[in-house]
């Protein structure tokens, strides 16, 4: 199998009852920063040990060019312009790995998240809303089918095609 293209990893965001929205359009570099906390220590015997307290992942989405036709637009506009946070900033995000573009379903992970508005406005290229996605627990592994660009997540096991 050849190496996967960048678009093989897709990240979707969903707020309220709206369908999942594909994040990353117009962005040529976007990563899930894992922010791992790993510490190596070496004792007097020369042995090395590793302690870790896990990860604090985060995704920075910048730029997002605001488009009222996007399913995520109203939610982001509300957070930014009405200065909302806390429970109002809750959403769900979905990661899909597409190893075979001809497959009917793909490995996927869904998790709760919180959205932080970083800034809005931007330069003259368009009205931009920059935001961060913070995973917030209840992570589930399952599968996703994608129809007309919209994914449907299921916690049923792989192999049910």
């Amino acid at each position: 199998m050849a190496k996967l293209k960048r678009e093989a990893h897709r990240l979707f965001l969903k707020a309220g009852s709206k369908p999942y929205y594909l994040v990353g359009k117009g962005i040529d570099d976007m990563s899930v920063e894992m922010n791992g906390s790993f510490e190596t220590t070496k004792d007097v015997t020369g042995e090395t040990s590793v302690e870790d307290s896990g990860y604090q992942p985060q995704v920075s989405v910048e730029p997002y060019y605001a488009n009222p036709e996007d399913d995520i637009y109203d939610f982001l506009k509300d957070l930014a312009l009405n200065r909302k946070s806390g429970d109002d900033a809750k959403a769900k995000y979905l990661e899909v790995i597409i190893e075979d573009t001809t497959a009917a379903s793909h490995e996927a992970w869904q998790e709760d998240c919180r959205i932080e508005i970083v800034s809005y406005g931007g330069d003259t290229s368009g009205f931009q809303i920059a935001y961060n996605i913070y995973p917030d627990g209840n992570r589930e592994q399952g599968t996703a089918t994608i129809t007309d660009g919209v994914p449907t997540f299921s916690t049923s096991a792989l192999g049910g095609e």
């Binding site: 293209k5 359009k25 040529d28």
Partner: protein, 164 residues
């Protein structure tokens, strides 16, 4: 060593047609019409692409989508013979006014103000972002029988998006 110039070969035809239709919508044109890259020896108005559409910028995003910003240079050529001094001024002003109108600035034609609200919608995922003059109109050539060729140079910037 200079960078290789890349041309948008696939969309050139669509954008050419759209721009040609647009210049023929100029409020101060009738009863004339602007031909496409074809002008009579002694008289006429023509839309002439200067070169191919150049890809200025291309972003391949993480979703598999490609966005290209392209530049399409063109000229409008106005040819006429036996022009009086006043007519020369009128021709120059006519071309400059066409340029302003294409830039979506307000213009006045026979006492009526016109301003293009938005650029025409293109087919597919293409969008004209702006049109601007690169030079004011000027007398390019005086040929035989004192036939004058006046020219205004412009460029259109458009965006094209597609999935790779």
């Amino acid at each position: 060593m200079g960078e290789t110039v890349r041309y948008d070969l696939d969309n050139y035809e669509y954008v050419s047609r759209a721009l040609w239709d647009l210049v023929n919508a100029y409020p101060d044109l009738e009863p004339d019409e602007i031909s496409f890259a074809d002008i009579d020896v002694e008289t006429g108005i023509a839309f002439i692409p200067t070169s191919g559409a150049v890809i200025l910028n291309e972003i391949n995003d993480v979703t598999g989508n490609t966005t290209q910003d392209c530049l399409y240079p063109f000229t409008i050529m106005y040819k006429a013979g036996g022009l009086s001094e006043n007519r020369k001024v009128n021709v120059k002003e006519w071309l400059d006014n066409l340029g302003r109108w294409l830039e979506r600035q307000p213009i006045t034609v026979r006492g009526t103000e016109y301003q293009m609200e938005q650029y025409p919608t293109l087919t597919g995922n293409r969008e004209i972002k702006k049109i601007e003059r690169t030079q004011p109109s000027f007398l390019s050539e005086v040929g035989e029988d004192n036939v004058e060729t006046w020219v205004i140079a412009l460029q259109a910037t458009y965006r094209n998006e597609f999935n790779r």
